[in-house]
Every structure is written in structure tokens, then in C-alpha cells.
Amino acid sequence: MAKKLLEMRSITKEFPGVKALDNVNITVNEGEIHAVVGENGAGKTTLMNVLSGVYPYGSYTGEVFYDGQLCRHQGIKDSERLGIVIIHQELALVPYLSIGENMFLGNEQQKRGRINWHQTFQKAEEYMRVVGLHEDPHTLVKDISVGKQQLIEIAKALAKNVRLLILDEPTSSLNESDSRNVLDLLLRLKKEQGVTSIIISHKLNEISYCADRITILRDGSTVETLDNQADEIPEARIVKGMVGREMTERYPTRSRKVHEEIALEVKNFTVYHELFTDRKVVDNVSLKLHKGEVVGIYGLIGAGRTELSMSIFGQAYGIKASGTVYKDGVELELNSVPDAIQANLAYVSEDRKGSGLILSNSIMHNITLPRMDFVSKKARIDKDLERNMAEHYRQSLGIKTPTVEQLVENLSGGNQQKVLLGKWIFSQPDIMILDEPTRGVDVGAKYEIYQIINELVEQGKSALFISSELTEILGMCDRIYVMNQGRIIGEFPAQEATQEIIMNCIMQDSKGEIGA
């Protein structure tokens, strides 16, 4: 029987009007990787905030025992002193400081307020070696990739003598190889240094890969704890616990009827980087999209998928060097975003908070924004018509909030994503470019989003589906393009494609680059 490192007993945490946690129990053994899963809003993050002292002792009921001791954390500092370190979903690094400075931020190598820089960077290098990061510790954080930044966060935790490491969605913004890298690091730290981890994640394959035990939360309560060590738990089993029902189909079926007509054709697209104008980010790309077809674009992060789609969408990104766009056989002049919207294209951004939604505006104002002309006469907005339109989309998309006056910033991630989709469906597009349409949303909301996409496509619209999740691409698309380093390097009908074939395609191409 392994030693209990952490035990949280009947934790209940209430916010005004909301019970975020209701009698939650969780036990973490020393030296294990413990996964906490649940839909968005199930209470995972709140639970971790109780543990790390973000919510001080007394603001919740129930008890936290760490190493056999009752904890009364008043703040983060108290829990860090015990070796509990939390890494939040949004990285907390300062982009204009160096790796070394970041690593000891708040934990400076100092003597009477004077920082010992020599020691700082030397120690930083040691910890970087542990996490397998080979960079100069003087490099500014903004100059390294997100994957490496995540490693710095972990190294930073190690520098605080971590015993219990809490990671809140550590891989949500990483591509598959970087994600694997982080998970392997956790496994290695567990083995070599005995670090216990709690990992929160939506990616079930990652959880079954690295977790020893899995605790499932639903609506603020513990559903069950599964042992993943003894037997491999199938993903469907976890999903069932999360949503409370059996989800046999991860991808809803649609009547796949791809029409003969070509809806969109892109020919010889070449785009240069916005700032580094000599860097080619999209290299002579040509692609076709039929009516009623979902076409996937798969590639690792940095392959140029977003850059390609944004530059098709009225040159919203980069400097276009060459390329033409044909819609229904007619060449389009797309010099600005309004041009693209007028041509009935839609681009659903991958970053809903950064470039998708106006968080401080209401659902109604967000939905009608791309086509204000639909709800206005001679620049005068018909507010009643607008409200009715928005209300229609709120209901048909199942946005869970009582009114369209609600500000988008008050919605959960899944609902925000539906508003983003609704906004672009409202614009009546023929062609939707969906850039990571299910990023950061839970399993249930994902399924609903897939259904929405299917409905649109069954109406004869077409979708360009960009995703970093291969399973999703394989599950949803009729045809798949593979992109690497700005080029299209392969095209597969969905029936022929498998994960292995696609990954191989990318590996072969990358090898070729190095060889040449």
C-alpha cells in the first residue's frame, strides 16, 4: 500500500449562487501521477485552487491533509513552502525576461536583496538539463517555442523543491510531439526524483498514457477514481464517467454526400511572414474543396495552416506574393476581410479569446458583428430584429445561458466556442474555414460542435477543417491535406488515411528537408 501524500476530504466550495465543489474527496499517493478529468466547469480548477491556497483556508469547508498534516494555507506561498507547486493553463512567464530570470522569479537567488546572477544562471542551467532543455539560459522567453516554455515552467517548479506538482492542462497549446515530451518528462521525474503529479487534461489519450490513477469529477462532485496502473482503461470508460452516459460515437455520423461541383479552389498560394518579410510561411499551396465536403488540413504547429487560411480570408495575415482563389469557378478579388465576408467565406479563429470574440460585448452583439447589414437598414440597427436573430442562434446552437444580453466573458469555454461558431453561421457562409474549432472545450461540447458542422455540410456548404488532433481530423473529414513547413505534402481520402500514414508523411518530409 503506497503512502498517502495528499488527502482532500469532503471539500465544498461555494461562490455566490453557485456550488462549485460539493463534497469532493480525492487521495493522491506518493510517487504517482494522478489525473483529474471532467467536463469544463466540473470543478477541476477550483479544486486545485483550494489545494494550492489560492482560496485560503476557511473560504471552503472540508479538510486538506498533506503528508499527514492538516493544511491551513492562507496563500500560494504557504503551499509552495510545503512543495506544492501549481502550473496554470496560461503560462506565467514574462516574455521579455530571460529563461534564468523567469525560472527564479519570486524565488530569486539573493542575499539581502542583491541578486546573485552567476548563481541564478548556473542553477537555471542545471534545472534545464533535468527537464531536457538545451538553450542558453540568457535567451529571452519570447524567443523560444511554447513547448519549451512549458518545460521552463516545470523547471521553475523543480527550483522550488517541488514534491507535488499540479499541472492544469499543460498540453492544451502544445502539438503532439511537444505534448509527448512533457508527459515523458513527468514520467521521468516520477521515476528519478519521486515527484508526485496531479495533471488536469481534456486529452484522454495522454491521460491513459501517463496516469496511474484517474479521478473523475462531474458537476462539482467526485464520480469515481479509476486505477489505470493495473489495467488499461479504455477512453470510452473515462468519457462515460465524465458525461454520465455512454458515448459510443465520438463523432456523429452525417450522410456523406460530396457534390461534384468545386466550391472553392485555391491555386499557387504563397505568403510571406508579416514581420520577417523574407520568410515564406505558405509555399505554393493549391487545394480544392467540393460542395458538401469537409476537408481537413493537418500539420504540426508552425506548419502554416493558420497562416494559409487567414491569408485566403482577405489577406488577414502576412504578405501575399502569389495565388488566386476561385469560388464556384469564378476568380475572387479578396483584398480585405470585408471582401471575404461579402464573398460568403467565414474564418472561425483558433483563438476565440484573442481574435475570435469581443469578450466585453454581449452574445447578441458578437453574433451579428460580421454581417451588421443583415440586421440594419441604411446603417441603422434594427435592435429587435437583431435580438431575435441572436436568440435564434442561441437556441439552435444550445448556448447555455438564459439571455443573449449576457456578456461573452461570463460564459464557459464551450459556450464561447458556440457563440464564435454562431457568429460565423449567422454570416451565411458557403465556405467555413474552421481553425481548431474544438480547442479547449470538453467532450460533450465537442460532440455538439461536430453536429453543428455536420448540419451545415449536409446543407451543401463546405468546410475546411484545421486541427492538431489527428483523431478528430480522421473522424470528421472526407479528405485530408497534410501540411508541413508551408507546403502541402500529401492528400488522402479519409477511408485510406490512418494516423500512421499521416505521421509518416510528415516525418518523411521533414527528413527530406534536413537531407537537402
Partner: protein, 411 residues
């Protein structure tokens, strides 16, 4: 019902400020032993604050674009006054054409600043700081450091006079200026009729409508308030001309921000520039126009203010930008942009105005007044920040985020 509650919550700050304004008026009414709301003083309040309201409305549009402010408005007010003085007093040009010319100069100034801010991407703070120095300097050059006075009546009539009273002989309800009273009643009636028409229209088309009692309550508060204001004005010398200018500005811009596509785009731009651009909003042009508009309104304020002083002075408009910015933030505008209303800004400006006027009547020194105004501004914004968070002060930032996340999950 839900939607009304949500709207109410979204505009909580504004309602709070309105209540605070009413409370402030009552307090000063008591402290000044009834002088504050004497007809003459109300008339004075309008003359004193007209230019602040005009500037604050322009400033609101700039702040909406993303928390950008315009530091140059005080200098533009002075420069426009100087131009008007030179054209009309020194060169003896036609006052009406001179006013048009001055408005044109305002638009030119705005285009200059807007160009650097919107198309050259230089921070508004820096461009308008430069403008503040440049236009103040130009004022001194134009006026050669001297004050020009007086203006001819044709110029002053636009903003310092009162609306003529053809019905003066009637003496209805014992007021001196019957026309004003009738205008007030007319406005109240028009207001009620449009409200009822809108209500019925929506109902007929099958749209969601507010509670009938809400509608009646709204009319029962606003119409008497309007009639009462005009009654007070009627008891003195009638409707100040400048009230018409301010009224037009308020109506036009409140319509613009709430009912037009471009107004909506302004909120989108300030709320999230990238998202607005990807939704087809012409962000650069909008930012440019916000600054053109600001300088245009600063020119209007400059003309009004020069008329009130009845002179073109090189010192005119000192620190007006601060009054305008303060009014916006008091009225609930967000320092990050995308949030704020014309109505709120009016409330903010009136709050500042009543505070100034009340303390002056009480004979509090202007030094102390400044301290009070500064603290009030901080208090209002701090109250907003704290009431939004509803959290103890020592909580780290991500704690707040996580909490919001939990809230939202339940929505």
C-alpha cells in the same frame, strides 16, 4: 425578464453613478441652503459645463476605441478660440463663416492626429501629447501672447444667449418664460409618445417587450424630470442657446453609439481589435475617424468657450482634457476600451460639474476643490473595480480568473 436583469447588471456602474449624482445634488442643495437649484444657478451650471459635456462625448469615442485618450483637446479649444478671435475681431470676417472655417480647422487637426495614430501606429498618448504642446504653441503664435476681445453679438448669439420667447406675455403658471415651459412639456410628450409607439410596434411584430410597468415607471420618472428642468429654466431667462447645442450633440452621439453600425463597430474595436478586424471591421479608418471627431467636437467646444469668455485667450482650455477624461471614467467607461455610454458620460460630467459648482457656492477654496475632485475620481473607479471583483484585496490575479471560470460554468 432575464434579459432586463442582465442589462441592468451590465450597466450597474451607470445606475450607481446616477444614484450618486442625485445624492450629490441633494447634499449640496442642503449644504448651500437651496442655492444649488435656484433657477439662476441651474442656468449657470449649464453654461459652465456645456463645453465639458461636448468634449467628454468626443473623448468617450476615443476611449471606446481601446482606452486611447486625447490630451490635446484643451490646446485645440484654445487654438480654435484664437482662430475665431483673429478671423472675427482682428480681420473683421463674417462670424457665421468664421465659425464654419473654425470647425473645418478642427477637422484638419483631427486628421493630422488621426493619421499618426491610426495609420502610423504611434500611441495616441504620444501623438496627442505632442498635439497638446504644438497647438498651445500655435495659439500663442496666433494671438502673439495677447487676449482678443470682445466678440460681436452675432458670434455670441450662438452659445451665450437664450432662446427668444415669443409667448412672454402669456405668463403661464406664473413663469417668466412661457416658451421654455411649453418646450419642456412638448419634449416630455414626444418622449412618452415615442416610448409607447416603440413598445406597441415591437409587440405588434411579435418581438420581446419589456414589462408594461417598467415602461410606465420609466416615463413617470423621466417626463416630470424634463418638465421640472424646463420649469426651472423658464423661471429664469429661458432656454440657454448652448443647451440646444449640447442637446443635439448628446442625442446625435447617443444615437450613433447605440443604433448605428459604425457605432457598434467602435465597441467591437475597443473590445478586441483583432477579433473586430477578422469580423470585417475597418479598424484603422474607425480609429482615424474617432480622432477626427474628437478634434471636431473640441472645435465646437472652443467656439462655445470663447463665446462664454467673450474673448480669445492664450490660456483658454487649460486642463480641459482632464475634465473630459474624468467625466468618461466617472460615467463608467472602461480604461481598456469597448465599454461606456454617452448617457453615462453625461452623468459623469454633471457629477463633476455639480461638485465644482456646489463647492464654489460654499466658498471652498479651489485648491481644496482639486483635491476633492481627484479623490472622487479615484473613489468612483476603485468602487467599480472592487465591486466587480467582490474579492479580498490580496488575491492573486489568476485566482480571480479561476473564479470567473467557475461562475461561467453554471451560467
Amino acid at each position: 425578464m432575464n434579459s432586463i436583469r442582465t442589462t441592468f447588471r451590465n450597466n450597474l456602474k451607470q445606475y450607481m453613478m446616477l444614484i450618486a449624482l442625485v445624492a450629490l445634488v441633494i447634499v449640496f442643495q442642503v449644504l448651500t441652503k437651496g442655492v444649488l437649484l435656484k433657477p439662476m444657478n441651474v442656468s449657470n451650471l449649464i453654461f459652465q459645463n456645456a463645453y465639458v459635456v461636448i468634449l467628454a462625448v468626443g473623448m468617450l469615442l476615443c476611449i471606446l476605441t481601446g482606452g486611447n485618450i486625447d490630451l490635446s483637446v484643451g490646446s485645440v479649444v484654445a487654438l480654435i478660440g484664437a482662430c475665431a478671435g483673429t478671423f472675427i475681431i482682428t480681420w473683421g470676417w463674417n462670424p457665421h463663416l468664421s465659425i464654419l472655417l473654425c470647425l473645418g480647422i478642427g477637422i484638419l487637426i483631427g486628421s493630422w492626429q488621426g493619421f499618426w495614430i491610426a495609420y502610423m501606429r504611434i500611441p495616441a498618448f504620444i501623438v496627442t501629447l505632442s498635439g497638446m504642446l504644438v497647438f498651445r504653441g500655435l495659439t500663442l503664435i496666433v494671438l502673439n501672447g495677447l487676449t482678443l476681445a470682445p466678440f460681436p453679438p452675432a458670434y455670441l448669439g450662438y452659445s451665450t444667449g437664450y432662446v427668444p420667447d415669443p409667448l412672454a406675455s402669456l405668463e403661464l403658471f406664473g413663469v417668466r418664460n412661457t416658451t421654455s415651459l411649453l418646450v419642456g412639456i412638448l419634449i416630455a410628450v414626444i418622449y412618452c409618445v415615442t416610448q409607447v409607439m416603440g413598445y406597441l410596434g415591437r409587440k405588434n411584430k411579435g418581438y420581446a417587450v419589456e414589462n408594461v410597468w417598467m415602461l410606465i415607471a420609466k416615463m413617470a420618472v423621466i417626463s416630470p424630470a424634463v418638465v421640472w428642468l424646463f420649469y426651472i429654466l423658464a423661471s429664469y431667462r429661458g432656454i440657454p442657446m448652448v443647451l440646444i447645442i449640447v442637446g443635439i450633440v448628446l442625442l446625435a452621439y447617443s444615437y450613433f453609439t447605440s443604433h448605428t453600425v459604425m457605432g457598434r463597430h467602435l465597441y467591437a474595436l475597443g473590445g478586441n481589435e483583432k477579433a473586430a478586424r477578422l469580423s470585417g471591421v475597418k479598424t484603422k479608418r474607425l480609429l482615424f475617424l474617432a480622432y477626427v471627431n474628437m478634434a471636431f467636437l473640441a472645435a465646437v467646444a472652443g467656439i462655445v468657450f470663447a463665446a462664454r469668455l467673450n474673448s480669445a485667450s492664450p490660456q483658454a482650455g487649460m486642463s480641459f482634457e482632464m475634465d473630459a477624461i474624468g467625466s468618461c471614467f466617472l460615467g463608467g467607461a472602461s480604461a481598456y476600451g469597448g465599454v461606456g455610454t454617452v448617457g453615462g458620460t453625461l452623468i459623469g460630467a454633471l457629477f463633476m460639474g455639480v461638485l465644482n459648482n456646489g463647492m464654489s457656492i460654499m466658498g471652498i477654496s479651489s485648491n481644496v476643490q482639486q483635491v476633492v475632485k481627484g479623490l472622487v475620481l479615484l473613489a468612483a473607479v476603485a468602487f467599480d473595480a472592487i465591486s466587480k471583483n467582490k474579492l479580498p484585496f490580496n488575491l492573486p490575479r489568476f485566482g480571480k480568473k479561476a473564479l470567473e471560470g467557475q461562475h461561467s460554468a453554471e451560467m
